[in-house]
């Protein structure tokens, strides 16, 4: 199984074990807290902001030595956890490989049902930004 598909399967297996909404939120918050504790002011700039998100969300995608590196931050710790979780699917891929990720990592997950349309749309914008990085 290609590494990318393994990542998606692992993500689904992890989330499938979280049976309640509270468990899922707890998991997302733990991701956010583990990722970084400090506000990265260099990330909180207009060019990195995802427009239209009710909770502010910033995503910076850089390509280093041909591989994607993604930083995320948000005023919302839950949204930050979500963005980090999604971005980890793409982390370290080449831009070409990222564009080949047609699967929506959220599709069919109970987690996606916990989100309102605005948050789902924001995450789709995060994925689009990653995929569109040259």
């Amino acid at each position: 199984m290609p590494a990318l598909e393994k990542r998606l399967v692992a993500l689904r297996l992890t989330l499938d074990q979280l049976s309640s909404e509270l468990d899922r939120l707890d998991y997302l918050i733990s991701i956010a807290m583990a990722a970084h504790q400090r506000v990265d002011e260099s990330l909180r700039r207009p060019e990195f902001e995802i427009a239209g998100c009710a909770s502010r969300l910033w995503v910076r995608v850089t390509a280093r030595e041909g591989l994607l590196h993604i930083d995320c931050d948000s005023d919302s710790v839950i949204l930050r956890g979500l963005a980090i979780m999604v971005s980890e699917v793409y982390e370290g891929l080449t831009p070409w490989e990222a564009r080949e990720v047609f699967a929506d990592p959220l599709q069919g997950l109970e987690l996606a049902e916990d989100l309102n349309d605005l948050r789902r749309e924001s995450l789709h914008k995060v994925m689009a930004r990653i995929r569109n990085t040259p």
Binding site: S20, E21, L22, L25, I29, A32, M33, Q37, R38, V39, A54, S55, R56, S74, D75, S76, V77, I78, L79, D114, R119
Partner: protein
Amino acid sequence: MPDLKAIRERFPFLRTCNTVYLDSAATAQKPDVVMDAMSAFYTGNYASVHRGVYDISLLATQRYEKARAATARFINAVSPAEIVFTQGATAALNLLAWSLSAGMNQHSNVVVTELEHHANYLPWKAMCKKTGASLRVAKVGEDGFLTADAVTSQMDSHTAVVCVTAASNVLGCVPAIGEITACAHACGALTVIDGAQLVAHHSVDVQALDCDFFCFSAHKLYGPTGIGVLYGKLEQLQMLEPWQLGGGMVDSVGSFEEEDVWQPVPLRFEAGTPPIAEAIGFHAALDFLGEYGMDKIAAMEEELTQYALLETSRIPHVRIIGREHVTVPVFSLSTEGLSSYDLAALLNAYGIAVRCGSHCAQPLMTRLGCMDTLRVSLGVYSTINDVDNFCTRLESIINKYGRHRCAGS
């Protein structure tokens, strides 16, 4: 005091669902009499109004017009003719902004406030852009409170319209509408009052307020969605051009060169088939409130609001915005480390429904220097248990997840 347990029994949602519902400012739950009235109409004698000559149409017309009369009594309008049924408060405000634009020019100005819901801000902004009039925005204080002076100081002899909320949908504060209205009239301006957040919690007397227009939605008043009210003094409504044209609002249609003759007020503002079942459901909601009396409901809600404010303010790291000015049972809070979305999502996981975000009041949020707040709003059915559940869960969430960013963040 009304029997709260008996009131709750009348709401099917509360009988069947364990959700702690603290979002009545967005929309209120419905008592069974509202659904029963609408269902009986749809199943028993459904027909359109005003133009049918057969029995069930005549009966539908009678019931629709009775709803109008009941609405007039509810806000103490002089006559049912002063009540226009619209799609909601937003539609009523848009109707006014469109119709009043006819008399505007680059010398005119419109006064709005930072406290407004977008529904009483954007239509006026658009109207000013279209006509060249100036938009003057009265500022709130640092705690979000809007003084009468802040509004009246914006008025002059060129002020055509003054648009103010009767109660903030974010902070629950109530501006001095009577004072603002008196000053507006002294300047020769019309007053438009957004009453959406006031009518469910306090008795309203439009004659005492002396406002020219007063708008609200039925669904925040325990009635159905899809219907709202534009009250206007009869002489003011008669001056307005109808904003939607079509069936039911015209008396005679002339040739292209001839003027069309509109129906009398209020029908000239109700083009198309109106929300008949909704009006009947709304009438049932007004009767429901009338059983208890708005003054008694206000007293009961006031007591619970003060309890909620006290208990919420005891939770460490919680800041209630403009607490001392909260008058209707709506208040906003923020806390360190967690956004309002985090709080609302976590509370939802415990079965507690509250609102997060900017509450369609971005000018106010900008003024307050915050992107969003967590809003708690109570209704006639809210209980001390609801408040206690909310406070207990909020405190545990803040203890567990709050202040997660380390020093230096």
